[in-house]
Subunit: 347 residues, 2 copies
Amino acid sequence: MVSLTPRAERLLKALIEQYIAEGQPVGSRTLVKQAGLEFSPATVRNIMSDLEEFGLIRSPHTSAGRVPTERGYRFFVNTLLAVKPPKTWDMTSIEDRFLADQDPQQLIESVSGLLSQVTKLAGIVRVPRRADVGFLQLDFLALSSTRVLVILVTQDGQVLNRVIHPKRPYSASELQQAANVFNGAYAGLSLAEVRRSLVDALRRDSEDMQQILRSAVEMAHQVFAGEAMSEAPLFVSGESNLLAFPELSNTEKLRRLFEAFTAKQDLLHLLDQSMVSQGVQIFIGAESGYEALESCSVVTAPYEVDGQIVGTVGVVGPTRMSYDRVISVVDVTARLLSGALSHGLPG
Amino acid sequence: MVSLTPRAERLLKALIEQYIAEGQPVGSRTLVKQAGLEFSPATVRNIMSDLEEFGLIRSPHTSAGRVPTERGYRFFVNTLLAVKPPKTWDMTSIEDRFLADQDPQQLIESVSGLLSQVTKLAGIVRVPRRADVGFLQLDFLALSSTRVLVILVTQDGQVLNRVIHPKRPYSASELQQAANVFNGAYAGLSLAEVRRSLVDALRRDSEDMQQILRSAVEMAHQVFAGEAMSEAPLFVSGESNLLAFPELSNTEKLRRLFEAFTAKQDLLHLLDQSMVSQGVQIFIGAESGYEALESCSVVTAPYEVDGQIVGTVGVVGPTRMSYDRVISVVDVTARLLSGALSHGLPG
DNA sequence: CCCTGGCACTCGGAAAGCCGGAGTGCTAAG
DNA sequence: CTTAGCACTCCGGCTTTCCGAGTGCCAGGG
């Protein structure tokens, strides 16, 4: 870790803040004026020279001002940034969203929209991979003589449904009974485990299985084999906000970025990393390790249900973003979401 | 309607096809070469001059070639275009999607992705506004003593669920009974009508209502009052495909367009229009009436369930798109979707 | 020793000028 | 009516010029 004189730190902070605000390389003169520094441009130039040696800033070319490097941003967020609570205006618009009492599921999905609206960047939310969550119960509901609605409820309150066409008609009471037997047999496992058990049970095809359980297993298998189970558990919104940033508006990069949003693969991996530790995490530029996120930063924070981390919320924007604002927004959103989910479930 | 000499029509067709393929203004010389015309560039210039007077083509500037106007595209699709069935390759990739037996709901949502993949443009799907579809049945499922999962099934196979927290605990049989009574009372109405009835029933608060129905009405009301009911019934995918087109890559237009995709309002109105009549509809450029879709065309086709139009599939791309290909893809997709939905439901 | 004013230097970006090419419109001849 | 020829236009790309912003360095002053 580099150590700078207090003056150099002050300067760097002012420079980065200025650059975040304006998006233009900032020169010694403007920096003196803007930050109200008590020394001259020449001095500033000397200090800048040092900062450049440390790799914290660089000049795009000889006679432009300086812009922060990724390392500069990193130093900035690590040691120069005092994260304040969100502006009251932001705060209220976030809280409003959580006041409306909704389904956990709907709430989670809406959070990405919330984040994008408040930060004017792209909001992302990663929900638990379906296969990983706990199985709570299954129910069969006859829609007609040939169609049965299978409802799968997970322990975290997600509901999955699918219509299947069983081989023979079942009466309502048969279905009821089948569900009861099934729930008894598979209570407490994770969805992935249930799926595995189902495959086993079908393969064994044992005669000793109750007839009714057999039916249930066959029908349930159709749900657990469905692609809904392996769906990428990621919501993105407000991608179009990123079009407003000139540093991203140039064709190829933008293209890559948007494809990353659609493919979701990379983002998912990134958010997985962020789930291992608590609190806000920040990936600046290449730190994320994904080419598509080259000149972007990602700010994430995990949220939890009953003390257990289950997902992540976050924001994607250009490296030149208002880290203090974004960090506080992401942080408070994750907290409120955790609260809303943990509050809503027990009781 | 303008009437052109066969030669002029041939020329126009060749010009538009060339322009769609290359995206560059096309001049007399290249046109002669490319289309293998048996007359000279000078003649072509004369004819082009006529076409320009008719407003079918225009030159971006004096010494560029000609590009089609919106009117030109319109004439092209109306009278010059022979819509062929999709290329076999497209066809198989479409059919593959429909082979996988899925939920109607999942199928519908996946179609926008399908369209965008096949056409390399943005795919859109409009599903019935929730409030308009017919009510089929409601069910209550106890998750815990304080949480009840309400499952709402519509006649077209959509399933809506929501967790509510009733005032007092209900036993499974009470819930069962409540659902039965409720289903009997509201069978056959549209969701909007059900909602209205519920509000009425709650307002009247009449003593003569069965106790169990009262409970059902109260719980159901929480579902019908939820925002899921009024959700914009529109799916968009593959927006990022549009970044590949140079004519759209210029900042502000693109921005508008993407905002239209997020806001959904305009697209929804447009698709509403397309639902009134059968078959493929094409909105070229300003024809749609929405500024955001300025240099875009929209190709749509309604799909039906049991002979009733219930939604629309479509594609959004630059006015310079391969209309023949896109039209046939949209058409066949709508047909297959109708087939899959109508096939799956009865039985 | 550090700060500061001064100065020469560099470089990018805008403006201006200069082709070359592609394409047109017109005209006159076949 | 078609076509070859020709003059003309205008865009795009290229170079040139110029200006301004900003730097680095140096020498003088606190």
